[in-house]
Subunit: 343 residues, 2 copies
């Protein structure tokens, strides 16, 4: 892959491109029958992640079927927590960490690890994926942002309340900071490792950031996100995603990342005006609008691209990951809307 003429990398540099690059968050996933077949063969979700041949296979599947401009490594944002010493399980309700980290001792016991030694399967999956990718397709690595990893580590899984992490941050800021410091260092190392193994750009996912008010985000999450972004500046282009973050978009624009990913609640045209060329914008088709007919998906995606109006620095994507009940034909229509723009 040649970075000087790769469509995604050019868009991340806000160059004028012949058409917007397109990929979808969670494009390797349960909505694809070939993914479900590989998962059955592998024996489970974590088994796919830990075995490079399966991880590479499901990473490549959507590229083969739809020809997106970027593949994102099939893995999970919680993989580094496992490497740091936390037990990690997946079942039909999602991830769980049965031994959550809620005391200073537990935080201090988390290990900072060398990704190549502890998560070599990630690097190997990246190398295998790169070998199987068309030359023009970019390969993305990713990691969870420190706040989102802290939320999972402290809560022990998904939650609506986030009571434990909130109590930690509000009532024992010193321990919270110690945890965030450690996570930021591990996250940066994980991203650098993925670039060393072939990732062309990286995505930092802060899934839970939008549950915070702007002031709490700036105090309890942003400093460590910025630290990670600084640590990997110049290593590879950086895309930062914070879920449901319309209320602190201006702050995200200031982080120095090459791109900010928007969710579907934020209108894309006005967001370009607000970004004022500080970064590229990724997004932001409503993933649940993929439940419309393929014709309607095509029409809506065209309307989204018309709203962007060919402004430089747009990466077409969803506002959140593909849902498992999505009709693959609708994903096809979404990708087609980008590809048909080529002049």
């Amino acid at each position: 892959m040649n970075p000087s003429n790769n469509l995604l990398l050019r868009a991340l540099r806000r160059e004028v491109v012949e058409r917007p690059p397109v990929w979808l968050m969670r494009q390797a996933g349960r909505y694809l029958p070939e993914y479900r077949a590989t998962r059955q063969q592998a024996g489970g979700f974590m088994e796919m992640i830990r075995e490079p041949k399966y991880a590479a296979e499901v990473t490549l599947q959507p590229i083969r079927r739809f020809g997106m401009d970027a593949a994102i490594l099939f893995s999970d944002i919680l993989v580094p927590l496992e490497a740091m010493g936390m037990a990690l399980k997946f079942d039909e309700h999602g991830p769980s960490l049965p031994e959550p980290v809620r005391t200073r001792d537990a935080i201090d016991a988390l290990r900072l690890v060398d990704p190549g030694e502890s998560m070599g399967f990630v690097g190997e999956a990246l190398r295998l994926t790169r070998a199987g990718l068309p030359d023009e397709t970019a390969l993305l690595g990713f990691c969870g942002a420190p706040f989102t990893l802290a939320a999972y580590a402290v809560e022990g899984g998904g939650t609506k309340q986030f009571s434990y992490v909130r109590k930690l941050m509000y009532r024992d800021f010193e321990s919270y900071s110690a945890l965030m410091d450690k996570l930021a260092e591990q996250v940066a190392a994980h991203l650098r490792y993925q670039v060393a193994c072939g990732a062309d750009a990286i995505v930092l996912f802060d899934t839970w950031a939008g549950t915070l008010t702007r002031l709490d985000y700036l105090r309890y999450a942003a400093p460590w996100t910025r630290r990670v972004l600084r640590d990997v500046a110049g290593v590879a282009p950086r895309i930062v995603f914070a879920g449901d973050s319309g209320h602190f978009l201006e702050d995200l624009f200031e982080f120095g990342a090459e791109a900010v990913a928007l969710d579907h609640r934020t209108a894309l045209g006005p967001a370009f005006e607000r970004a004022r060329g500080r970064c590229a914008l990724q997004g932001n088709f409503d993933p649940a609008a993929l439940f419309a007919t393929p014709e309607e998906v095509l029409r809506r995606t065209r309307a989204l691209l018309d709203e962007v109006g060919g402004r430089p620095g747009h990466v077409l994507n969803l506002g959140h990951g593909v849902f498992k009940d999505t009709d693959p034909e609708c994903v096809g229509a979404f990708v087609q809307a980008a590809k048909e723009r080529a002049s």
Copy 2:
């Protein structure tokens, strides 16, 4: 209760008041030991709702303990769906409707019912609550908004994807409209009934509205919300809550409701500027910030009130319901911050 000098009703009319009225969404709930005791006595969640003496008891509990300016009837937004003919269950994962409505026949089979005949326990609970309330405390009735009820009715419970209701709205708008028409009529009847039984004001909860883009909200939810609000105009003051709705706040301000409830993501000061006196604003303390210490809750609530700066038409509340792990002392600190403002 005398509407001409009730603090909440005066704030909803945007009169200058001596201090902001305060109540909390889900203030009757699991965070209170006395609630848990009543629930155990009643035998379950639905049992409390269906038995007026229990419903009134838990409605009164937070008023006795904290002295909020309004009590909101303990019930559930899905009660009308059950009355319309849908089976309804509650367990530790939340509500479920085991026979979701996904076909035109199922939609047509939903019954429009007289609330007094089918949900007489609601009216009786309101009367019992009123009898037990201090004279100066307002009593609120409520109902789910049509879109949120439709989402539950079609999905059969909580979900992240909303695939069935999206497919229905996008692919069979005629059936979707038929469902929404029916729900809007039942919702309006339910609200009028509650006012007839003693509710001083009503709250319309559109929990899932914020999952929609603005354009989809305007097309698939707002018309029916507006219809309900029109149907009950002049009957009692109307508070409309739409979760995570910062992206269509301007539209909510146009609905003619006496108040719009904001979630914690929207900054309250600027929201008052944007509302330009069209309605009162309710909110919007982050419910998860109640996990801070009582001192910090007091400090933050004072800061929120300072941001409002005594503008008329503010009802102090959370941005969402109280979480079950909340320390009652923190709710007390929140209420205190409003009460100490009395001159």
